[in-house]
């Protein structure tokens, strides 16, 4: 008995039909060409391995994306738990009498107001990119998702399996770190 609406898998056509789509999906979440390419490849391999589990309820592409999504969460967990993981520098005292106060050397300095006018500058974009790249991977990833890719908070939380308060702590640390980096590299008086 044939079901007309049942989807089937055609692995020989995967690259042609889905490679670009999966790659774009990945690069908007993981801003690294080689890594994104590897995740796409892993997704196709995992798809092949699991092809007998495909029930044909969803389209081939939706099914491949669901595999890719798990690969992305796995990647996030890896960068979140990596041994000796890099943390951002503290900007505020974390305990004692002065808990929550600015650490002196991290207090904002006033900026050269001339530079602010030059906001459309291409070099500015490069300076920002450099500063984001200097962040520990986890912070860079969440910051990019929220600020550059403009994902909804809820969507990021769902995709990375984190809470919204977790997300705002990451964004806060990323932005305080970026402020300092931009002050030193761009807005210096």
């Amino acid at each position: 008995m044939s079901l007309p609406n049942k989807h089937i898998l055609s692995p020989t056509k995967w690259i042609e039909l889905h490679a670009d789509y999966l790659y774009n999906y990945t690069i908007s979440r993981i801003n690294n060409h080689d890594l994104a390419k590897d995740l796409v490849q892993d997704t196709f391999f995992a798809g092949l391995k699991a092809k007998d589990n495909f029930q044909g309820k969803a389209s081939e592409r939706t099914w491949l994306i669901s595999i890719l999504k798990r690969k992305i969460i796995d990647h996030y967990r890896k960068i979140n738990s990596a041994k000796g993981k890099a943390e951002v520098k503290m900007n505020f005292y974390s305990d004692g009498d002065r808990e929550g106060e600015w650490i002196e050397e991290r207090v904002p300095n006033s900026w050269n107001s001339e530079v602010e006018k030059d906001i459309e500058n291409r070099e500015l974009s490069e300076a920002i990119e450099k500063c984001i790249d200097n962040l520990p991977e986890k912070y860079a990833m969440v910051f990019r998702l929220k600020t550059i890719q403009e994902f909804e908070t809820e969507e990021i939380c769902k995709e990375l399996d984190i809470t919204s308060s977790n997300l705002w702590v990451i964004i806060h640390r990323a932005r305080t770190q970026l402020r300092k980096c931009m002050e030193d590299s761009w807005f210096k008086n």
Binding site: I15, Y23, E101, I128
Partner: protein, 82 residues
């Protein structure tokens, strides 16, 4: 009502995305009224948000794709497993 600089700047960051609650904003403004350091942070944060916007547009103009060679490589890898 009283919050630390850490909390105030966190609300300020959240507010850059329009996601701070009204009560958060009241607490933030009360803090900014008294704290010059966070006042400067807040002012600079607005500038940075504009900068990130510019960067976002530059980023979205750049196209990201796999080269034909890379796709051939992928194809080869996949065929070997078929």
């Amino acid at each position: 009502m009283k919050i630390s600089c850490d909390e105030a700047t966190k609300i300020c960051d959240k507010n850059q995305y329009g996601e701070a609650s009204l009560w958060d904003k009241i607490k933030l403004n009360f803090h900014l009224f008294l704290c010059k350091k966070c006042g400067l942070y807040s002012k600079q944060n607005t500038v940075l948000t504009k900068c990130y916007e510019v960067h976002k547009n530059a980023n979205n103009e750049a196209s990201h794709c796999l080269s034909e060679d890379e796709k051939k490589q992928l194809e080869k890898g996949l065929k070997a497993k078929l």
